[in-house]
């Protein structure tokens, strides 16, 4: 059995000394003020201060730290930038936190073979920045891309607005360097298509740190599209907007992104950023097409026609890069704008088949009415990945209880419509209970067996994803902040 609770003072001091011997004095945090920074990630409703935080600089240091933890039987939790939204790096059941923030090297850029090897602590946006001059990009672009790290992206299998055409993180990770919970360093996958053996890279992606610590990843680079068109379509009703989404897909067009905001969110965004959104509209769609330049005008025309046929009030294309950037800024910062509408808000992350969007939105509305809550919607419509935002005042305990109930009911509705309880935020600690809506006992047992092949003692990020006796965490207050 591994040690999962705070250590006794003597043990803590001994561990601290041993860690300092590995990473140096400046690589170990032990003061309460320093540790408090690490008490939660983007999911703030649960907090737990780690006993010690260690910040290795190299894979070898990570391996030695993990070895040390293994010999002492101490559980650990990996952490990147702490932008996760499901409490994946909450140290509730692991005294030792291993942060990757000092592992920020891009080890190799291989432009002819369209790949990079980035260490776990490299910030997502830095990868694309490093290769942009060569006309390449690392496609996955979660909204937190200026802060979140590659290691965290791999752990969560992060999404973002451009997954409709390009896929999520796992589709762009060729291989990983993984430190197993016994300290062994393994190389999984390869930079070539003919990887031999089981696709362990594929199952490590999205394993939320429960297989060990990813210390580096080989990432696929993709050529920048020759041309991009970004359009804003305004609709009188949410139904007209969702119909448009379905018709675009039915026409055989796969946009790079297809994002929707409803009236509540549009009003908040407009009040905050004055981007010229019509505040009386029922919904707006942000539609981005990319690809070879020659065919794009034709595709654009067809999308505009589809919007008009669905009674769009207006459709306009961004005239230049600045306008395009302004549209995306409004979309990506929608959550910040919501802060103006209510003292607190809570974001859900669920998925339905995209044809069921009208139905899930109607159900969300009914759930809101029943619980006397105001709910706004801003989401990846093309993927059917919804992000309902419930507005409330967390000082009102009774209202808060209704928010929690509504959130759970929304996820139940996603499952009832054939969807999932999380599209991109992960299970973490937040949705342990909801995982049971998607999977039965046998399904979860097989997943646990695979986990045991990597981490038989369950010392890597214990208490996450799976319901266990030790991890019976009840939500008390919904989270205040969220982003996508």
């Amino acid at each position: 059995m591994s040690i999962r609770r705070p250590l006794a003072d003597a043990d803590r001091d001994e561990l601290r000394r041993a860690l300092v011997a590995i990473v140096g004095d400046d690589g170990v945090l032990a003061e309460p003020a320093d540790l408090r920074v690490y008490e939660c990630d983007g999911y703030t409703l649960e907090r737990s201060v780690p006993t010690l935080v260690v910040l290795p600089r190299t894979t070898d240091e990570v391996a030695r730290v993990v070895c040390l933890a293994a010999s002492a039987g101490i559980a650990f939790v990996p952490r990147g930038a702490g932008t996760g939204l499901s409490g994946g790096c909450l140290p509730a059941e692991a005294p030792l936190m291993i942060g990757t923030s000092r592992m920020r090297r891009i080890r190799m850029i291989d432009l002819p073979n369209r790949r990079v090897v980035a260490e776990a602590g490299v910030v997502n946006a830095m990868v694309s920045r490093a290769v942009r001059d060569a006309g390449l990009q690392y496609v996955p672009d979660p909204s937190s891309q200026n802060a979140c790290t590659i290691g965290g992206n791999v752990a969560e299998n992060s999404g973002g607005p451009h997954t409709l055409k390009y896929g999520v993180t796992t589709n762009h990770v060729l291989g990983v360097e993984l430190v197993l919970p016994d300290g062994e360093v393994v190389e999984l996958g390869d930079a070539i298509e003919g990887t031999v053996g089981y696709d362990l890279t594929g199952v490590v992606c999205g394993s939320e740190g429960t297989f060990g610590i990813v210390t580096a990843a080989t990432l696929r680079l993709t050529p920048l599209p020759e041309a991009v068109t970004t359009m804003l379509a305004v609709f009188e009703t949410v139904a007209a907007a969702t119909t448009t989404v379905s018709r675009i897909i039915a026409a055989g067009i796969v946009p790079a992104a297809l994002e929707m905001m409803d009236r509540t969110i549009v009003a908040a965004v407009e009040a905050a950023y004055h981007a010229g959104f019509p505040t009386d509209a029922g919904a707006v769609l942000l539609i981005e097409l990319d690809g070879p330049a020659a065919g794009l005008p034709e595709l654009t025309t067809r999308v505009v026609d589809i919007c008009r046929d669905a009674d769009a009030r207006s459709v306009r294309a961004a005239a230049d890069d600045a306008e395009r950037a302004a549209l995306w800024k409004s979309r990506k910062r929608a959550f910040g704008a919501v802060g103006r509408l209510a003292p607190s808000y809570c974001t859900q992350d669920g998925v339905v088949p995209r044809t069921r969007l009208p139905e899930i939105l109607a159900r969300i509305e009914r759930i809101g009415v029943r619980h006397r809550l105001r709910i706004g919607n801003v989401f990846h419509a093309g993927d059917g990945n919804i992000h309902p935002i419930i507005l409330f005042d967390e000082r009102d305990r009774e209202e808060t209880t209704r928010v929690l109930a509504a959130g759970h009911e929304i996820l139940e509705a996603c499952i009832a419509l054939g969807g999932s309880v999380t599209g991109e935020h992960g299970i973490g600690i937040e949705k342990i209970r909801e995982l049971g809506l998607s999977f039965g006992i046998d399904d979860l047992a097989v997943m646990q067996r695979v986990r045991a092949a990597f981490d038989p003692a369950r010392r890597a990020n214990p208490g996450k994803i799976f319901p266990t006796g030790a991890a019976c965490i009840e939500q008390r207050t919904p989270r205040r902040q969220a982003a996508m």
Partner: protein
């Protein structure tokens, strides 16, 4: 050749009811000279689960198969008591064209699935040989993307959910039916390419795509091999409109590049012009330019004319980095002795070289090819080899450094080692 033709009578082998011991049926599923003792074709998933559970409980070795079209891939099974075919599981479970997802049972053939999708103007963008004899389960188990993979992604990029029966006879699920989903581990990835060694896939959900509005096939004939390979890097740089780019070099006729294009007509025109310019610069002739009329399926035969389906003794596929693929192709070719008949296929974007050989000394040829591949940092899969080599051959090389971890994954899912024992990498 060692033909095991009679059922063992040691009492250890448990053969379920819905089985056939018909010799012809069993021989049709011979793997590396070994004939299964029985063939079972469950008509329901519940029956399949029972069959696996009972077999595993009795220690009976079960090799899962579809129609067996790709069973040459992989080592000879250590034991081959029961061939378990999913071919009777042929239900289209759910197809929602507007969601661009389809859920099917694993015995549905790729050709049947493409037929269903085509009626809605969609396709699953994979193109392995023998689609009429390739089941969805086989597509997954043998990871058969074909020449479209470089532009459309591999099987791993298309599967979003599976149901599978584990060795304890329980059908479990991973993933789902929506295109974006991070609930639970991505066990689908473990199934892909695993040759049935971890579980029996019974159902799969795929992301599908709209068929290209226009397709076009260009065939470039090159003066010789050197001239052909000189075009590789130019063609590799083509954009997403270039669905498949393949060099075929069969030794008898001039090497040809086969370029399948698809997309909006204006984009296809642009890429056609680029290819024609590249061909001119390399003194290649445009032997064939079929515009628009043919949908991808019709163009497939020309593009994917599959060297591994020729009458070869040995078929190997090597994969390397893009920048090394031309050197690798040249070196592999040079390693083959003069007497051997050779057909080659090169994909400059997937960076793969496939060679099919008719040779008197297969063992020596494979050894030389393996050394060449290793020298170029390539992996090598021996996709076909004479049965006489079954005991000694290493189908995959080099073995992955994570092989011990892979053994632990196998032991976690199939602790008794009853699913396709010995078939996989490192004879897992």
């Amino acid at each position: 050749m060692s033909i095991v033709d009679t059922p063992r009578s040691d009492g250890r082998v448990s053969i379920p009811e819905e089985t056939t011991r018909d010799v012809a049926a069993r021989r049709a599923l011979t793997i590396a000279g070994v004939v299964p003792h029985a063939l079972v074709t469950p008509s329901t998933r519940a029956a399949l689960a029972t069959c696996v559970r009972d077999a595993a409980a009795a220690g009976t070795a079960v090799v899962p198969l579809g129609l067996g079209a790709h069973r040459a891939l992989g080592h000879r099974p250590a034991r081959y008591d029961l061939a378990l075919s999913t071919r009777a599981l042929t239900r289209i479970v759910d197809y929602a064209p507007a969601d661009m997802t389809v859920t099917v049972e694993s015995g549905v053939t790729l050709a049947a699935l493409q037929g269903v999708l085509a009626r809605e103007g969609q396709w699953l963008p994979v193109d392995p040989p023998l689609p009429e004899q390739t089941t969805v389960g086989g597509l997954i188990a043998a990871d058969l993307a074909g020449p479209l993979a470089a532009s459309q992604g591999r099987v791993r990029d298309l599967v979003i959910g599976t149901a599978m029966t584990t060795a304890d006879g329980k059908e479990v699920r991973a993933g789902g039916r929506v295109v974006k989903n991070v609930a639970g581990y991505d066990l689908m990835k473990l199934m892909i390419g695993s040759l049935g060694t971890l579980a029996v896939v019974t159902e799969a959900t795929f992301k599908v795509r709209p068929r290209p509005q226009t397709t076009r096939l260009l065939v470039l004939t090159c003066a010789d091999r050197t001239a052909a390979l000189a075009l590789a890097s130019r063609l590799a740089e083509l954009d997403e409109v270039a669905l498949a780019i393949t060099l075929l070099d069969d030794g008898d006729t001039s090497p040809t590049w086969q370029c399948l294009l698809g997309g909006v007509a204006a984009d296809v025109d642009v890429v056609t012009t680029r290819i024609r310019a590249a061909a001119r610069a390399a003194s290649a002739t445009v032997a064939y330019d079929e515009d628009g009329a043919a949908p991808p399926a019709a163009a497939r035969l020309a593009v994917a004319r599959d060297v591994s389906r020729t009458a070869a003794d040995v078929v190997v596929r090597a994969a390397t980095l893009r920048t090394r693929v031309v050197d690798l192709a040249v070196a592999m070719r040079a390693s083959v002795d003069d007497g051997a008949r050779v057909r080659a296929r090169v994909d400059p974007r997937a960076a793969t070289v496939t060679l099919a050989l008719e040779t008197a000394d297969a063992g020596a040829a494979i050894a030389r090819l393996r050394a060449v591949a290793a020298g170029h940092g390539a992996t090598l899969v021996v996709e076909r080899w004479p049965d006489a080599l079954a005991a000694t051959i290493d189908v995959w090389s080099p073995l992955p450094p994570a092989l011990p971890l892979m053994r632990r994954v196998k032991a976690a899912l199939d602790p008794a080692g009853v699913l396709a024992p010995g078939r996989f990498v490192g004879r897992i």
